[in-house]
């Protein structure tokens, strides 16, 4: 009973906030609605027992990706007239995309009617439900059966990260940064001198 209530609550809010994400005029509002959609999707994941995925969704998408989104969007100078002009220009492209998505959804629904895809083993038998927690089950799969794919994904991410750093890195010569280790290595004896100059005479350093 309470599960059904929770499911419809999360599902309705998820769809609603997803719709408002694309309908909202203000990009910052859009991002915030998107965050709400992520959150409700995480709630749905918890309901089907995939708590690990749910937490990852919140940590990665809500906690990191959406913050960066917000970071960028907040600094935009919003010009509504220009936004509307862009709408007319990009309308055909958006329509094409919408048609493709709708067809995919439709095909998916028809195929779903023929029976869901059974997760099975290589020899064709049905997979056993794992007798362990979510995290252990995912870990056991990632580090045994899908080890090479997992490593490949890691390498792709590493290359992407190094690429981003190389593209944005620039050596600035016009600024003088602080060299902390050099500062810490400096001792009072070599940095200061103690003198008692005669009256009327200056000090030569």
């Amino acid at each position: 009973m309470i599960q059904v209530f929770a499911f419809y609550l999360f599902a309705t809010l998820c769809i609603f906030s997803g719709a408002v994400t694309i309908l909202a005029r203000n990009p910052v509002h859009s991002v915030l609605w998107l965050i709400l959609a992520f959150f409700n999707a995480a709630g749905l994941m918890v309901l089907v027992g995939a708590e690990f995925i749910a937490m990852l969704l919140v940590i990665v998408y809500v906690g990191a990706v959406a913050v960066l989104f917000l970071f960028v969007v907040m600094m935009l100078d919003i010009d509504f007239a220009e936004l509307r002009a862009g709408f007319v220009k990009n309308f055909p492209l958006g329509l094409a995309l919408a048609v493709v998505l709708f067809v995919e959804l439709f095909v998916g629904l028809i195929v779903r009617g023929a029976g869901s895809v059974a997760l099975g083993k290589a020899d064709g038998s049905a997979a056993q439900a794992a007798d362990m927690s979510n995290i252990q089950a995912i870990g056991a799969l990632l580090y045994s059966r899908y080890l090479f794919l997992f490593e490949a994904a890691g390498i792709v991410l590493l290359v992407a990260m190094i690429g981003a750093i190389v593209l944005t890195h620039r050596q600035r010569t016009d600024t003088r940064g602080q060299n902390v280790s050099k500062q810490n290595a400096r001792r009072p004896e070599e940095a200061t001198i103690n003198l008692q100059p005669e009256v009327g005479k200056g000090v030569q350093i």
Partner: protein, 347 residues
């Protein structure tokens, strides 16, 4: 508690619902009271370190100072700047305050005495603490004012930076405990080294605890990392435009977050509700008392640091997070997992 309500003749679902609500109230009300008292304690410690008296007028020894402040703030007018984004401006403090309370759901107060005993407890804490930044960022943007906006920018960069190293530190703990469940993590610390309860006695995990403590200060934007509300540069940071209860919600949420960080220090590294030493006599004291003592001890450290250490410069803060904590914590993930593999911990 569910069984108690089922004993009253309720169905399982109703009993579970009522028990959960009672549990939430049992945590939230003492927490609010604790926050009020801890603000008083913070001011007293700070004053003592500066050779001042601190609050000493309202009530005996000034004990009621926080309540007087609360009442004053409650009676003030809520001012909303005319150029502000009204809805978001009011939602922002609510988000901060709610998020500060949410993470307490998985903190074990005694063996099994936890509101939500979930398998992914530590990930939940990480997920909730990463939400904390939204309250600040939304406040900064919706105020439509220069200084709050700078503060919001600083806050988002700062929290993301330190979350990365906190993640690696937690991985070390999880590797050793073999679980993400906070209750089981506490149990795994029983007589960890000789008769000492707690991962902190472990030479490989002690540096991790020090880094966790410092990262916790940065994550909760406490001094010396309180650049988000650096009054010498940013007036009052993201709180500049706030008044009345909205301001008070930030105040309460901030201290609830600090208490949470103290509780996490205790639970992850100092044995949580277990006594410091694995001696039968010490188990006569309830686990809740041990946890409370540990939280207070860490809060004293937080206050001590606030009273004595000057504020970091922004580039120094980023340097510490990315160039020192990140590589060192990554190195320790290798060391800890390597040690555990070599000694056959996972066998």
């Amino acid at each position: 508690m569910t069984e108690f309500f089922m004993g009253l003749g309720l169905s399982y679902e109703w009993a579970w619902g009522i028990a959960t609500i009672c549990g939430i109230l049992l945590i939230a009300f003492p927490l609010m009271l604790g926050v009020a008292m801890i603000i008083y304690a913070d001011r007293k410690i700070w004053a003592a370190m500066a050779l001042r008296k601190g609050p000493n007028v309202v009530g005996p020894l000034g004990l009621l100072q926080s309540f007087a402040d609360g009442l004053k703030v409650f009676l003030q007018e809520t001012i909303i700047p005319s150029a502000a984004n009204k809805g978001l401006f009011l939602i922002a403090p609510i988000i901060t305050f709610t998020v500060a309370l949410m993470a307490w759901a998985v903190i074990p107060f005694n063996s099994g005495a936890v509101l939500a005993n979930i398998n992914v407890g530590l990930l939940y804490v990480l997920a909730i603490s990463s939400l904390g930044v939204y309250g600040v960022v939304i406040a900064g943007w919706s105020s439509n004012s220069k200084y709050p906006f700078f503060s919001a920018m600083r806050a988002s960069a700062q929290m993301i930076s330190y979350e990365v190293s906190i993640g690696f530190i937690l991985i070390c703990v999880v590797l050793w405990a073999g679980t993400f469940n906070l209750n089981d993590i506490v149990k795994a610390q029983q007589s960890h080294v000789w008769i000492i309860n707690g991962f902190v006695a472990n030479p490989l995990l002690f540096p991790m605890w020090v880094m966790f403590l410092i990262s916790g200060m940065a994550e909760t934007a406490r001094a010396p990392f309180d650049l988000t509300e650096a009054e010498s540069e940013l007036v009052a940071g993201y709180q500049t435009e706030y008044s009345s209860m909205a301001f008070a919600l930030y105040w309460l949420g901030e201290y609830a977050n600090v208490l949470l960080m103290c509780a996490l220090n205790a639970v992850l590294f100092w044995g949580g509700y277990l006594p410091p030493l694995d001696i039968p006599v010490l188990y006569l004291v309830p686990g809740f008392v041990w946890l409370l003592l540990k939280i207070l001890f860490f809060f004293f450290i937080f206050s001590w640091v606030k009273a004595t250490v000057p504020r970091y410069r922004y580039d120094q803060l980023m340097r510490l997070g990315w160039k020192i904590f990140l590589p060192v914590s990554l190195l320790f993930v290798f060391l800890v997992s390597g040690y555990l593999m070599a000694t056959g911990h996972f066998a």
